[in-house]
């Protein structure tokens, strides 16, 4: 990683922290503004899509959120959290078929990865569901 990349990575983390803090304070519109910048700077970071999508979801923009999650799943390989977020939102909207598909996609990602945390994440989600 060269100096510029290292600096950029730090800047991305700083942006994420900033947005996350605003999100935690339920200042979703402000957080969305920060995550929008982060998405421009780091579009291959799953957190950018997920965080911006979640802000929109909490602002009541469900369709926008679904688009962002969907885009995140497409752009970022193994974006399991985006798939899970899609699943949750579809389920909340009563779109059960789409919710099921999203959960299946997330399960597949978890199974194909060697990351135990991801499998746990899916299991936890399924436990909540049942």
């Amino acid at each position: 990683m060269n100096t510029l990349d290292r600096e950029s990575a730090k800047a991305i983390e700083a942006l994420y922290a900033l947005g996350y803090g605003l999100h935690a304070q339920e200042r979703f519109a402000d957080a969305a503004a920060v995550f929008r910048i982060m998405l421009q700077v780091a579009p291959t970071d799953e957190r950018s899509w997920l965080a911006l999508g979640e802000c929109h979801e909490l602002l009541g923009h469900s369709e926008v959120a679904l688009e962002l999650y969907g885009a995140g799943s497409t752009v970022v390989d193994g974006a399991i959290r985006c798939e899970l977020a899609r699943y949750r939102l579809f389920a909340a909207l009563g779109r059960d078929t789409e919710a099921e598909e999203a959960l299946e996609a997330a399960t597949e990602i978890a199974e194909n990865s060697s990351d135990g945390a991801l499998v746990e994440l899916i299991d936890a989600e399924k436990a909540v569901r049942s």
Binding site: A24, L50, E54, R81
Partner: protein, 293 residues
Amino acid sequence: MNIPTATIGRAVASILGESGKAVPNTARAPSLLSPPTEPPMDDMAAVFALMAKGRQLDLRRSASDIRHAQNARRREWQKAKQALAKALAAKKKRGFWSKLASKCGKLAKYAAVAAAVAAAVGTGGAAAPVVILAWTGAGLSAAACVQGEAHVLQKLGVSDKWAERVEVGMTVGAAVASGAACGWQIAESGEAAASGAEKTARVFGAVSSGVSGASSAAGGYATWQAGLADGEALDAEAEAVAARGADAQLELMLLQLLNDLEDNEKSAERSAAALRGAMETKGDTLAMISKRV
């Protein structure tokens, strides 16, 4: 890249707080967002560096856009100039053909009158069809002449277009009738039987018919050319107008780009000031904490 300054200014201190940790949100279901690592002091500088880099890119892009717009504008101006020059040339050409058409038309009319009269004289009261044709020719020709000069048909409510057509029709009709009368007369009576005056009249009539026909044809051609030149002039004028329209649009675009550039500058200055403030605030906070410890 524009980081909202108000957001940064308000948020940095509140996110970091005295403990330096983000405030957890317990009001809703667990978020899928992973907690961030605490941004150290130099990360703010990194944000600033990234912003500066983005700003430089934006500036370069804006400058390039402006250059592009200026070049496009120059090209449109060249096009407009060429179109105007073309329109001017077409107008000059139209003027020439128009004058020629007018002269040819007049010559055709006078020649037709002369031919018709000569034919009437030349027949010398011979066969009735010849007389009828000759006088019809003369009448038509004269009417065409009068119409051409006095615009009688227009005064009677006929449109310019149709009056012109009737006029041309009468002129051509007169020439044909006069020529036919001459030819018929020559065939009927024979060259030997004709008197000296009749011979002269016949020759004069034939020549006049020829002149009238040729002048009518030349007049028609000249009118056609004038029409073409008129069309060219109109096309060129339209091109010039279109080019001027494009030029105006480009000018607006250029102004917009300059405005954007100005906004970009102001936004970058505001962001920089806010970040500086945020960094100072954090520095003060850390100083306070260290004093307490």
